[in-house]
Amino acid sequence: MAKIRLATVWLAGCSGCHMSFLDMDEWLIELAEQVEVVFSPVGSDLKEYPENVDVCLVEGGVANEENLELALELRDRTKTVISFGDCAVTANVPGMRNMLGGAEPVLKRAYLELGDKTPQLPHAPGIVPELLEKVQPLHSVIPVDIFMPGCPPSAERIRATLEPLLRGEQPEMVGREMIKFG
């Protein structure tokens, strides 16, 4: 049997979900035997999202143009997309900027009002991705197959989600251990 092609993606989040992924400790060795890590900020150094991915864990909300582009691309090339953690599921802390209105008031607040020396708005087309008006949960921009809440989801929860998938089964996302937010 061909190995399962696993990817992990980091959008607008703090990387805490990926840290929690690494907290699976020695089970990572077992996981590595069963999957091929084809794209991941903590597991490979590729810049282009590959074709024919079986499972992808997506951490973070969708906050800027780069996030959106990668989200659309990975949906196109992945069988099972998992919203990985509260930022992907709810927009969570990155989404708190939405309460200020659109992107402009947020940038003005951060770079002009709070800028100490030579305050200016960042603008570098093609280098710094533009902010989207609102930070959105992943399922607002692409269809998502499995939702794994948590800030971060515990290593046990991540393992309990991945294990059935390795056997070709669907994980059961019910109960406090699997779906409690926060």
């Binding site: 599921v89 709810t90 802390v93 939405n98 607002s140 019910v174 779906i179």
Partner: protein, 238 residues
């Protein structure tokens, strides 16, 4: 006391006249999820989580404000009810700004618990991200309207148990919010006795003690029930 017999989920029950369906179910150990209900204060049927189906009736009825009647046949967990309950909780999360990860009530929040109970792993509705304020004018307490679900438990506990009526409901619909005094900052409301009953009554992290940080709010809801029993039955021990 006259006795009423009814069926809940095909279980035969005998209870007292005047009891609500929710009380009858609780006595029989049948759990119906609630958010705006709090033992010891008047029920208002605000959250709609306790909706039940009645055999022969087309309308869904809130169990907390529907009295038992002879021969009633109640269903509490049909597929339709479970669908609606999950939808209600999803709507509550989409309506306010509920960021569990940084909330004082994380791990000790009735909204968070009920989300698990109804099996909500995400909301199908767009988040509104409303612009709501936080009032920290009171020397001991704060109210964060972002986390408020408008259950009005604070309003009722303050009015009915403390007798101060500091809280009320202002505006209507999406603009509705909990207001203190005559729309004054909480700290300027003379009627407030700083008893803290609203802190214990609040199901979320909306009303909290100052200095409480993430996941540190531990509500003492039994205290309110104790006070009611103490006054009504003169039992002063817990």
């Amino acid at each position: 006391m006259s006795v009423v017999t009814l069926k809940i989920n095909d279980q035969e029950l005998a209870t007292e006249t005047g009891k609500t369906i929710l009380e009858a179910a609780q006595d029989a150990g049948i759990r119906i999820p609630t958010l705006c209900h709090l033992d010891g204060i008047t029920d208002v049927g605000a959250c709609r989580l306790c909706l039940i189906e009645l055999k022969g009736g087309r309308k869904l009825l809130p169990a907390c404000v529907t009295e038992v009647a002879e021969g009633m046949e109640v269903e509490t967990h049909t597929e339709k009810l479970q669908d609606y309950r999950r939808m209600i909780v999803e709507l509550l999360f989409s309506e306010g700004n509920h960021v569990c990860a940084i909330c004082v009530a994380n791990e000790n929040c009735e909204l968070q618990d009920v989300a698990v109970e109804v099996g909500m792993d995400h909301t199908r509705f767009r988040y509104r991200f409303p612009d709501r304020h936080i009032d920290l004018s009171h020397p001991q307490f704060g109210i964060d309207h972002n986390r408020c679900i408008l259950c009005t438990r604070c309003v009722r506990v303050c009015d009915e148990i403390e007798g101060a009526h500091v809280w009320d409901v202002a505006q209507r619909g999406a603009a509705e919010y909990i207001v203190s005094g005559l729309s004054q900052p909480w700290g300027e409301v003379d009627a407030c006795t700083a008893c803290g009953k609203c802190v214990d009554a609040c199901p979320t992290g909306s009303i909290f003690r100052k200095g409480t940080t993430t996941a540190e709010k531990v509500g003492d809801r039994d205290k309110l029930q104790f006070l009611v029993t103490a006054r009504q039955e003169r039992q002063w021990t817990r």
